[in-house]
Symmetry: none
Subunit: 189 residues, 4 copies
């Protein structure tokens, strides 16, 4: 019997530790050697668990998104009005803002990389977006897809502003405004 290791568990552990490494430097800039070193393993071991950089990143994102959504939606059930929920959304992003900024940067960085070409039509990516949008549908209680896109754009935009270093934008304040605007719009139509 070899060294006793739960392959899948260890994979998950590595993935967990990977996130910050990727987030610190971006997909393209961090090297597999640096990741291995950061994880305290050899490159060989890293490749033993993940066949290549792209797939490592893919697993990372899957992990991240899964966790994100479950955290974000954890205690939204008790919130009744749209306005309450919009404000909870703002609070969610505002806590761990640095994390969400990193997160966004990673997605952007990867999407522009050679490795991502042809990726945007992939099942994986499509599924990601669907899951993302379904959170908006369910949570804000919206059925108009154009409006759902609107909210998605806005939310990503808010994070982006902070990523760009524009600190005057206040995430909570903006989401609060979002709630009001959506309500005003829906009431009128």
């Amino acid at each position: 019997m070899p060294k006793i290791v739960d392959h899948n568990l260890y994979r998950k552990e590595l993935l967990e530790k990977c996130f910050d490494l990727f987030a610190q430097k971006g997909y393209a800039s961090i090297t597999m050697r640096q990741i291995a070193q950061g994880l305290g393993v050899s490159t060989g071991t890293l490749y033993h668990y993940f066949p290549n950089k792209k797939i490592l990143f893919e697993h990372l994102v899957e992990n991240m998104v899964q966790r994100d959504i479950s955290i974000a939606t954890a205690d939204w059930e008790k919130l009744k009005t749209r306005q309450e929920r919009a404000e909870a959304l703002g609070k969610y992003f505002n806590s761990n803002l640095a994390y969400h900024i990193k997160n966004s940067y990673l997605m952007i960085d990867f999407s522009q990389h050679q490795d991502a070409k042809g990726y945007q039509n992939s099942e994986f990516w499509q599924r990601l977006c669907e899951r993302y949008k379904s959170v908006i549908y369910d949570f804000i209680g919206i059925e108009d897809p154009v409006l759902a896109d609107f909210i998605m754009c806005f939310v990503d935009g808010v994070i982006l502003e902070r990523l760009l270093g524009i600190d005057t934008v206040d995430v909570v304040e903006q989401c609060t405004l979002l709630g009001k605007m959506v309500t005003a719009y829906l009431d009128k139509n």
Copy 2:
């Protein structure tokens, strides 16, 4: 006998031509050789005018931003209603969408540069953001700074979605919706 050349003028010319090259492939992907080739000079010459890739890129961004704003606002004066203007905004981004996507990517890439950290508090960057917002103020006819930020976030978010490859988002449609939402919101309050 050296060619008689105005060093600074030639620098500016090179910069101007550089823009498309960077915008086509992104900062990380384009190589100095490719840039030199695209400019019709040798790598040696390129390095004669710019000490390294990063500095070349920084100069480029400065140039780009300056030009961009003046183009965007060129013929908006004749549009009267908010809705008209919101829709013009959508059309502006929708034409040359690929350009605007790359443009955004370049800004993001730039903002993540180690050297850009200081930049974000710099006079240059601040001025840039102010100018950006004032376009929104003037153009959409909004005075509430939170609402101006909202619109800025949204617009950047729309571009970002496309950068991420989410093609279902329609820029014109989204801006049209923006106009309606802003109106509904302002009418109500």
Copy 3:
């Protein structure tokens, strides 16, 4: 409790199964992992029986050659004329041509091994060649050693052409021609 296994017998069994694996991909291309997998054992076990890839390969070649000659000569006894036998030779190589090509490649690969340099003067190698030639003597019914060498060269050459990818060479046709040429030559002298 260790499995009760006759070490040498198991070695031989592994060797037998190894052959196809090497023959399919060639010495350089197949990895120890692939071999182990093909044998249904772990890499650890493979290394338990053979200290390294080279020695595994050497044992393999010894095994292969021994087996090959006995197969080739199995049912040639009933063929009477030289021409019949020459054509049988062609058919023999033509069936399992892919195998013979790989086989030749393995021999060539082996012969170029650093460790094989000593081998070429070794009793083993000498004996091998003698046995090879004696097949030609017996089978084609030739006693002139130069002519035997000629046939040996030709046969190996035909296989080599195919190894090099020259598909226009037809093994059966060539061996048929060989029969005619030998006959013409022997009749004349």
Copy 4:
């Protein structure tokens, strides 16, 4: 003006020096670093002149074949009879036998390498074989393509035997016999 170098000339010089390096270790075993070192340049320089290992090898072979054929056929014009020519062929291979053995090994080694997959149908390879065969046609004065293939197989086989370390095969003697056999065969038919 950069360092003054005749690009094509230098390429040719590098190619010339490359041959022994490849021949010593085989295509797969020699590394680009070792080649560069052997040539006294950096890997970067090597890649400046040749885009990859495969193409480097391709140029090498082209060079080699061109030279080989012109040397081989240089003074065959004055030889009149087939027998004289066959014997000249033997002498040609016998002088520089070590070179021809290396040469054959290189071709075999390459043909089995991953890089060569799909290569055997390439224009380059086809042209090589055609040129090779046309030497046989012209020189030995043969028009029957099967017979030309026969001779090609035989010649390659002779070299192969020596490559395999079978020193009892005498190249000159074998080619002399070839001449006689071809004559006997053609006289009879």
